[in-house]
Symmetry: C2
Subunit: 226 residues, 2 copies
Amino acid sequence: MGRTIFSGRWCHGGGERMNTDLFEIIRTTRSMRRLKPDPVPPALIRQVLEAGTAAPSGGNMQAWRFLVVRDPAIKTAVAQWYRRGWHEVVAPRYRSGAPAPGSSRERFDRMLAAAEHLAEHLHEAPVWIVPCLEGGTHTRTSGASIYPAVQNMLLAARALGLGATLTTLYLLFEKEAEAALGLPEGTHSYAILPMGYPLGKFGPVARTAVEDVAFSDRWGERWTEG
Amino acid sequence: MGRTIFSGRWCHGGGERMNTDLFEIIRTTRSMRRLKPDPVPPALIRQVLEAGTAAPSGGNMQAWRFLVVRDPAIKTAVAQWYRRGWHEVVAPRYRSGAPAPGSSRERFDRMLAAAEHLAEHLHEAPVWIVPCLEGGTHTRTSGASIYPAVQNMLLAARALGLGATLTTLYLLFEKEAEAALGLPEGTHSYAILPMGYPLGKFGPVARTAVEDVAFSDRWGERWTEG
């Protein structure tokens, strides 16, 4: 069922042979933007959601709600706003800009091609999880009570052999997209996580070195282990 | 060295006996607010930071910077704003409100006592990681490019036997606290993660059931596995 076998440490438990080592999962949870349309068993969706709800939130208040979307009509209606955001705003910006730090032009172009694929096929992902927050003021730190849950879900999905992506770009058309999602007044979505069995393979993420992004005590003072 | 042994699946690798099963780690990554002052080996800080940098960010742009604070003078200066935020705003609000969903009054009061302890001892945590974003507009979705990294770091810390907490409440005094952290113009912090060997034990988190927070296709329509 799309379970990927890869090198690293092995855990023995539950009669299954499956690498669920945290560090290996973290190291290989890439955004998977090309997905098969095959349905995802509800038992796996549950495991992903449970991982989400284990995350921290301000005062443990868990104002999160997770909309699990499988209805093709809803996905199709929302996906058109995603596609517009991609074609009109995001794609032109990335194509004219520099590649991501730690990435090559070629690798970055491959990412853009995958993102373009996602824009065309988002509605075909068998299941979306849409993490929302009820009420509150929605400041720049309100994400502290929802994106940790998102990351838990991405890691859990990957450990279960499911590909997923964290995307927010449909929010360029927030009003229209959230109306198509049927969100009530005062509730806002923070991402769409399209999820399904991946067409490609999991693999290590490409990032800049820790030394290039960590400072020691004072801004600009490079952190080093030594 | 503060490593916690607990039930569950065991991984065999690197000559160590240590449970790093993703689902077990997710299930037991509680906010650890009572920490020993013992220093944290830089090799562990590196593993935590590496886990952070493996997270996704918008367009993989990694505009994150991680300020690793060990200097007691800086911690003391920032902690006073945290303490004021706790005593003047947050503690009165939580004490007069209902306990967190899925928690009892007693358990919630224990959490508040731990948070009060943190307010008094924040500067004594041996190391803080302060995740920041450079530039950008800092909207409610900018957290999508930093809190996934935060969650990776919390999980990695826990897997290494380190306790940590995600807290944002010092940002009630954002200007003063970020000046004390020495952040440059246009850069903002999104949390403080005080980190160290925990005084207490790791254990399962207390949360509401998935069925109470997940909807199927339409808002208010309960998601069930069946």
